[in-house]
Subunit: 495 residues, 2 copies
């Protein structure tokens, strides 16, 4: 008989850039997000869960003059010819919801959202095309009290998940101050906002590169331009050295106290109304935070925070972890940023035509989780189940009864449900499950009305240290009456 | 100056068939899933979170002879020409993971998964294109102890979320018994498994319609066929009345006790080896469950459970809620099924060529949540925050200090962050937020060092009943020293 040629088998792998999360990876993240959600709840924020799919139109991810969605999103055309796409962040869906339900939601509307987002980008090491975000935003409040509140909440959230005070700092800056600085430096004309916009773009991009290029590199980009190591030339903003010094002065305006920083900024933006407004906002935020007991050990004014200044319209904030970790090459480096946010005052304008002020923060879930792991601060129960082994497959009901008793007593437990023939496989299974205790009842024990409990944690320790001496007072294996099973397992687990 | 013609504004709505979940909708579902996860954990199941996106190849959703994915999934072609799609259930990703990690995972592998799945189907009332599933499966165990365990776990899960014993029943059936019945009825030949497959398909579809068509309708479909009300004729399986009676006897084989049901089934499948095997499996499941204390008040053998019999290969189980609810027309009806599952022994065969036995259950998250709501059993804290109102916008720091103290004491609280000019709006906001207490401090109170607390819950009750008399001992508004703010709010919340 001719054999059918088998069809090619599908590859058992996820698409490139996607991954699976097993066991503790899931529960550790969940434990962290649950704690953050408690803080958000206490601050009056309500959860919002939008669907993963939005219309491309609502996301605003259309290429101009092209009828396909922008790169960067996973999109497809549905049967009604509408383009749909997976959300790439949690802010775009919030904007849609804030517009759609503007007459029903409380105003201001405080909401938090936690969930995956998708980016159609080249995956790389540690860079995935699906990852979690954890956002909190206040929509409809123009008050800097809303910004201050989010900074305080971010500080509380970091402490509650296990980052001790002193190991993090929330830094606050303000886009309006930078605008004031640019006005003073001569690249912003309040009477003609469009003028110099190319130069301002270069200034924004230049200061955003301060960490990589250092002061001299940024100075070059503020001036005529900069030739990089490969010889490529990047055109600069064309500021004179004096003008450039004003911008550089902004980045390095941080002083020992908030009051001194404010005084320094006020000097820098002297003569700019918008700059003065920005400094006033920073001062208010510091005052509001001080009134709630948040001192500079937790939240500081720092004009050196430049990330996002091009996007946000007022206060900008960023949480940095200040402890050292070892990088992949074994070098010490600061852990760095785990959260950032700020004020963006045109959240729903695309939909409604009306400006609605909003401010919010996004926590980088994977980075924060990595930080907690680096500090040994993850909290998830990784203990495996008690494994009831199967010596006699005809007495499965007896073994399941043991498991049932253990579970009813709140103990994580299971019977070995593979082929019980090879007992060694059962112990290997218990080992793979990180099982703390194996329960064994063969024919002799059944006849005697007993069970054997094997302390697998102790057993592993004995195997490691090889000196049985130190463990001699604690038997790695005990035989107890069947009726004492639950109590004896509890004793062993408590050791 | 000519005005620019504004671009058409995007519609502020989700795609058709998708929806948003607000506040308590999110927390109630989360609370339910957290409780279920605790039960699954105690049973030794580990969480698994796969990504939303799979290759269409891994999902197995290709149309035959067509290079586009099947309808029913949301799919798109990525830049490498691979077809990707959103998962339509949690079983297909499990199959991929079980194949991919077959050398690393413990075997048997118990896993649970909770999360959204997507169906590209016509949306309808209450039918959405993204919804939650909550699955638990055991991969790699051929033992019916694995099936029994999942039935017990399902029973525990239902009780732990708030369905009292007696208000639900887990029903167990077995596909092999049906095969035995079909063998006896003459539409299955063990020596030639392909023979009569068309007839068996008709039999399976017929008994699946028992709820809608009743005994006579099914009998007609088992025989020559059936003409429906519109006059359309559906061809039947062509069984003689005697053969049809055997199949009908299977559906109605449930007796007062499990032992009697087993005896009745054994009669029906007399002469069929596969039928006898199925009956034996049902008997073993009943015995294993009884050994763990799960009696027929929780789990029963019921050959009337026909859903999924065409898909599963051995034991089949279904959880039904037995209490009445009122349907949309005000008629009493039983709530019905909230979970179902069974054994499917070819989970990873598509990937590896090897048969791997598996059994699992899927809880219909939205249906179970609806049931809990109908019974008033949802548990989520829906109390809004204490709202500190703003009488004097220059003293924002004072109000934020109050909020900070309340939050530090674990009380959900917020300041009003909208425009404070209209005080009525602030109280309307507090009402919309379901706030229990409003805190008020105007200039007089500030000078006197006091705050006013308004009991909004009591206020609402007084407004409803209109007889102030019954509330006269409990003032709806008190003035307390500023220093007593937290203690006084706590007292008011405790009332």
């Amino acid at each position: 008989m001719a054999q059918d040629k088998p069809a090619r088998r599908p590859r058992a792998e996820p698409p490139k850039g996607f991954r699976d999360y097993f066991g503790a990876e899931v529960t550790e993240r969940k434990a962290m997000l649950d704690k953050i959600a408690e803080v958000y709840h206490r601050y009056g924020f309500d959860p919002l869960e939008t669907s993963a799919v939005e219309t491309v139109e609502a996301l605003g991810k259309f290429l101009p003059d092209v009828d396909r969605p922008n790169e960067g999103v996973f999109g497809w055309q549905d049967e009604d010819a509408d383009w749909l796409a997976l959300r790439y962040d949690l802010t775009a869906p919030l904007a849609r919801v804030a517009a759609q339900y503007r007459n029903d939601l409380p105003s201001p509307y405080r909401r938090y959202a936690m969930g995956p987002v998708w980016r159609n980008e080249k995956p790389g090491p540690g860079r995935f095309r699906q990852f979690y975000q954890c956002d909190a935003d206040t929509v409809g409040s123009a008050s800097v009290a809303a910004d201050a509140e989010i900074c305080a909440m971010l500080s509380d959230a970091l402490e509650v998940v296990g980052i001790p005070r002193g190991d993090y700092v929330v830094k606050v800056n303000n886009r309006k101050v930078l605008n004031g600085v640019m006005e003073v430096a001569g690249v912003l004309d309040p009477l003609d906002p469009e003028r110099f916009s190319a130069e301002r773009g270069i200034v924004l991009r230049a200061i955003d590169k301060i960490d990589r290029l250092g002061d001299d590199g940024v100075r070059a980009l503020l001036g005529e331009g900069r030739k990089d190591e490969s010889g490529d030339f990047t055109k600069g903003a064309g500021l004179t050295p004096d003008q450039a010094e004003i911008v550089m002065g902004f980045i390095s305006a941080k002083r020992a106290t908030g009051a001194e920083t404010v005084a320094r900024l006020r000097e820098l933006v002297a003569g700019s109304a918008m700059g003065a407004e920005g400094v006033q906002e920073l001062e208010s935020i510091a005052e509001l935070l001080a009134a709630q007991g948040y001192g500079t050990d937790r939240i500081v004014l720092d004009p050196g925070v430049v990330r996002g200044l091009g996007y946000y319209t007022g206060p900008v904030y960023e949480a940095e972890l200040t402890f050292d970790i070892l990088d992949e090459k074994g070098r010490k480096r600061q852990f760095g940023s785990v959260a950032g946010g700020g004020r963006y005052d045109d959240l729903v304008k695309r939909f409604t035509g009306q400006s609605v002020p909003a401010t919010g923060v996004s926590i980088g879930v994977d980075r924060l989780l990595a930080a907690l792991r680096a500090k040994g601060r993850v909290s998830a129960d990784t203990t495996g189940p008690v494994v009831v082994t199967v010596m006699d497959r005809d007495r499965m009901a007896d073994y399941m009864a043991m498991v049932g008793e253990l579970r009813a007593a709140g103990i994580r437990a299971e019977a070995y449900l593979g082929n019980p023939k090879n007992f060694g496989n059962q112990l290997k299974y218990a080992d793979k499950r990180a099982s703390p205790v194996a329960v064994i009842q063969g024919g002799n024990e059944a006849a005697a009305g007993t069970v054997i409990l094997k302390d697998l944690i102790l057993g592993a320790k004995i195997a490691e240290s090889a000196t049985l001496e130190e463990w001699k007072d604690r038997p790695a294996q005990v035989e107890v009456p069947r009726a004492d099973l639950v109590a004896a397992v509890k004793r062993m687990l408590a050791q």
